[in-house]
Symmetry: C2
Subunit: 339 residues, 2 copies
DNA sequence: TGGGTTAATGTGCACGGTCACATCCGCGCG
DNA sequence: CGCGCGGATGTGACCGTGCACATTAACCCA
């Protein structure tokens, strides 16, 4: 009655070792795919593991290796389609690599809340960090905190940045703008996202670049907050003047609000105003009218984030793998101008 | 040169203890808010911690306490508004309690993929599990796996279930249905969600219950997949017969697809057909027409999930705190029937 | 004055892995 | 035949924390 006591305690490598007739170190080697283990021994150990339903203890492993096999994600607005899609794809890619993902959300925009979220993550002993709330403030906060781990972000600056996984937002915005110009629009507004967001800034820049390149008169963009609600109110305001025939919205939700406002003002899309969105949320195809928009490859984005991080963590950095190019999806919310 | 070597190694409680002139155990007590520590001692320790930028090592703590301070979330379709909102609220509540959250996503619907996701989570040594993909299959998979941790789910069965955090989906669906009946509709369809989902099943039941209670002729619900795309195709089919004046959709996205289809068929909402959705996604207010729908209190839901789990984990279970009652939001997609 | 009680702190070990190093064995070769 | 070598495995220490238990000081009351 001295041995073989399995009173609830989960089995550890020594239990496995004892039953397999080897040392705990041999079991550890099997776990880590060490090359010099005889096949017969390995199989015997694996059998015992299966029998005991052995599961390696991550905490113990993390304690000695100083690796938690956890990636952190700093997000904001994560109930929105873009962020949540990216998180999901990161999650999937990480899971495939045997990593877990811990997320922290920024609710307020003040620096204190950002620092708190970063604190929460660093307290988890994460091995790497993905920032999908690339607000300028976040970067400022980032520089005040010693992360001690590799991180990547959705940066879109031309400035070469080792941490940036780039979707070419500028190119996407130019695609959208060019589409409107080619239809014959001469008076185009841009409803931008919060300028605190790098994506918003990049899309706005793409818009302005293309307008200039095509020599079209540019008007100052309107700065929004990504929400349909804002799009609606901005639309109501704009329709009182009506000195334009098209609007390029920085995301689909604001585009939806715009359409709503235009119609509430007694006008029609695309007859009176053409609208282009950005993101191609699944609902965009069923807006009334179905929305012309720009699609981003979120799954690919997530995969690249994880690949880059794991590369850095394991000391074999993945080089700059080129930008991801968005795609213009033409539906019925755009047409030739009426005047 | 024998002591005071800080070659990159992160400080631990013994480092803190040495500098504070106490034992490592005293430091540990400060960390865990042990009552019998003299204030002066405690302050001295805290000062040293701040100076050293000491951070407790979670792995070491988890190793000895057998608690990872991590909650798992099993989700699916998490780029959709409902799931992602719940995840966010869970995340926030957990963060406030000093817990981290690890999510696993179910992509496929086969049992193998469910088991794989659960495996991924249990391998993380989670302390508790929230299941927000309450498909029937998940529960079947669940019974085959020995979780060994408390879990909660969004179950909505009448069957008293200790694990269920209940939003009264049935009541929400009845609210929506009653609204249509009170407007005078006699021929109402229901576009349900996948019956594999408990929410979908509960909303359908609410619909049928109310129809029976009000003695309205019931037609067999259509089984959808939550997507706007499906709503569109279902709508096109339905409009070929047109033996109804209202549709209650099990979520807002499908409702959007329905509206699109009705309009594509040359009809109008709500003039020819009234539509009610479920969820009140932020965009619903800006659909054309703005959607009448049922709102759920997601933040409260997340808080309750976490509260219940932490209660069970710490051995002081929170009792059944009553159901969360959804709210009907009346907008312009519903009106009196035209015939 | 002394024994009991409680508050405040210290001591050593356990948790479950990995790592560095030691050991053992069989084989080829000068 | 002895030596070196490399494959296969074992031994013991260590990672940073919390727990059980021991210890000390202080205080109270008979």
């Amino acid at each position: 009655m001295a041995d073989s006591d399995d009173r609830g305690r989960a089995p550890n490598i020594r239990d496995v070792a004892r039953l397999a007739g080897v040392s705990h170190q041999t079991v550890s080697r099997v776990l880590n795919d060490h090359p010099s283990i005889r096949d017969s021994t390995k199989q015997r150990v694996l059998d015992v593991m299966a029998e005991l339903q052995y599961r390696p203890n991550r905490a113990a492993r993390a304690l000695v290796t100083h690796r938690s096999r956890t990636l952190g994600v700093l997000a904001s607005q994560r109930s929105q389609y873009g962020p949540s899609s990216i998180i999901q794809s990161i999650e999937t890619a990480a899971q495939d690599a045997g990593y877990m993902v811990s997320t922290a959300n920024i609710t307020a925009t003040d620096e204190a809340s950002i620092v708190a979220a970063l604190d929460h993550l660093t307290a988890q002993a994460i091995d790497g960090l993905v920032i999908i709330a690339p607000q300028v403030r976040v970067f400022r906060a980032l520089s005040n905190i010693d992360l001690r781990v590799p991180f990547v972000t959705m940066n879109t600056n031309e400035v070469a940045d080792d941490h940036a996984i780039a979707v070419d937002q500028v190119a996407g915005a130019r695609l959208a703008t060019r589409h409107l110009i080619e239809l014959g629009h001469k008076h185009i507004y841009h409803l931008a996202g919060p300028q605190d967001w790098m994506e918003a800034e990049a899309r706005m820049r793409g818009f302005l670049d293309e307008m200039n390149a095509q020599d079209v008169r540019t008007t100052a963009p309107i700065l929004g907050d990504w929400s349909a609600e804002f799009g609606y109110h901005a639309g109501r305001e704009l329709m009182r003047v009506r000195d334009f025939t098209a609007i390029f919205s920085s995301n689909d939700q604001m585009a939806l609000g715009l359409i709503h406002a235009i119609r509430d003002s007694g006008h029609d899309v695309p007859r009176d105003v053409s609208i282009v969105g950005f993101d191609d949320i699944p609902e965009a195809a069923h807006f009334w009218p179905p929305l012309t928009t720009v699609r981003q490859d979120f799954p690919e984005l997530g995969r690249r984030c994880v690949a880059q991080l794991l590369g850095e963590i394991n000391g074999s950095p993945v080089g700059y793998t080129g930008r991801i190019h968005p795609e213009l999806i033409v539906r019925s919310s755009t047409g030739v101008p009426s005047f």
